[in-house]
Amino acid sequence: MALIRDLIVQFFEMSLVLVLAPGLVGLVRKAKARLTRRRGASLLQPYRDLLRLLRKEVVLAENASWLFRVAPYLIFATTWVAAALVPTFATGLLFSWSADLIAVIALLASARFFLALAGMDVGTSFGGIGSSREVMIASLAEPAMLTTVFTLALVAGSTQLSTIVAFMNSPAVGLSVSLGLALFALIIVAIAENARIPVDNPATHLELTMVHEAMVLEYSGRHLALIELASALKLLLYVSLIACIFAPWGLAGAQADAIALLIGAGAYVGKLAVGGVLLAVFETAIAKMRVFRVPQFIGVALMLGLLGTLLRFVSRSF
């Protein structure tokens, strides 16, 4: 009986992230439009886009290999599994035994690997540029993410997400400069990984600045829908990762009843909305940087992660 209940909760979590992901994208777009005094499309517009893309037929390039057709499904599947591992509204999910932060990073990295391969598959020079830039950014963002994870693991004593969240929710956290540094590093990594504004502009098709859009330029129809949904899921994943680690209030515990779960889900939606609006404000306030400045920007995250680890060693040695 307990297993069935756990299965239901986990299934609810997986469908919740899937349903909310395009809504978060719509919210960020709407908030950005309002901040620049435009009306903006409705919050439901990303859902309509996805439905329209799903109905359209797929146009494949003549020399596209099987990899090109398989990649969208792989990208979507790995991103969805990674999103299912994050404790979004409850810590005691069925998958939480495997919800290791390093596993989440590895899942996202394999999704990126397939995306970069697919970008180069058809052989257009555009996709090649996009893939090379994506891999350049990733090669900097992943070490930064890993050092941040090490900092968190040193503080909380585990790389397992539900343990970290339980620790963060307890009063034993105290005041720690390492955690602040980890938060900033994680935000920078999230911005870089999700191709948000200082690194890449998600709203443009301008050649000079394109990273993510350049890779998926050859996709159409349901393939494109899956890739768009996967990138929306990735944004949601990072926002909920930051929310569950650094703002773990309202999360339901391991054996919570239905009311606690509902409170958790409500708090989660609220946190997502706050995160989306903050992201929109940040993106409106800052200008896109040149591609060659990006390594410096992400280098800051790497440095913050390392510094957090070092500072942690000082306070641990007593």
Partner: protein
């Protein structure tokens, strides 16, 4: 809240190290001065917290000195200097920011290893203050080495002095006389360096230190 006293001291001193890194990262003179003012402000907070912990009222005077001189007077004066020299847009570094940051991380690691070994007998707060203070001093030195612009070298020197201040307050008991004389000697050093800046500028039309080497006939 376990051990709030230690955690706050840790936060402030760690913040000082972080702001030293921000100083290394800046590439505009005006933002460099803003960050330096922040550096001094955090130092003042840290010293005030130590005064509260150690029940030492004279440390509040030190904090006030740090706030008044270093967070307000010196940044304002430096800003006026760079506006009069017309150089508020430029900065050039000898090596890139990436290697500088890596060197800085290595220095921080070094100071932690050295200080935590050496000061095994001291109290935890004093130990971590000393470790962070050494890190701030080394980062200030690194900044003086990696910058060629005289104004940013001055800022590096001042941040180094902030590190010394942190060490002195953490080590429980720098007498107020010493503190005031150190503050004034820093102020005098600042004035002398300011005069030198104008002399260098008059002579070579630039505050790039590289011009001095050419004047001495050295070749890079």
């Amino acid at each position: 809240m376990p051990n709030l006293a230690f955690d706050t001291a840790h936060l402030l001193a760690g913040g000082l190290v972080l702001i030293s890194f921000m100083l290394l990262y800046q590439d505009r003179l005006t933002s460099l001065l803003n960050v330096y003012a922040l550096h001094a402000l955090v130092l003042a907070l840290s010293v005030a917290w130590q005064a509260h912990l150690q029940n030492a009222p004279h440390l509040y005077v030190t904090a006030g000195l740090a706030l008044g001189f270093k967070a307000i007077i010196i940044p304002v004066a430096l800003r006026r200097i760079i506006e009069r020299l017309g150089i508020h847009r430029e900065i050039e570094t000898v090596v890139g920011i990436g290697p500088t940051m890596l060197a800085g991380m290595a220095l921080v690691g070094l100071s932690m290893v050295v200080m935590l070994r050496v000061t095994a007998a001291a109290t935890p707060i004093a130990r971590q203050d000393l470790a962070f203070a050494l890190a701030v001093v080394l980062l200030g030195l690194l900044m003086m080495v990696t910058r060629r612009n005289a104004v940013s070298q001055v800022v590096g020197f001042m941040s180094l002095e902030n590190g010394l201040n942190l060490a002195a307050t953490g080590a429980r008991g720098m007498p107020l006389v010493v503190e005031i004389s150190v503050a004034f000697s820093i102020l005098i050093a600042f004035i002398v360096i300011g005069i030198f800046l104008f002399r260098i500028r008059e002579r070579f039309d630039t505050v790039d230190i590289g011009a001095l080497d050419q004047a001495r006939g050295e070749h890079r």
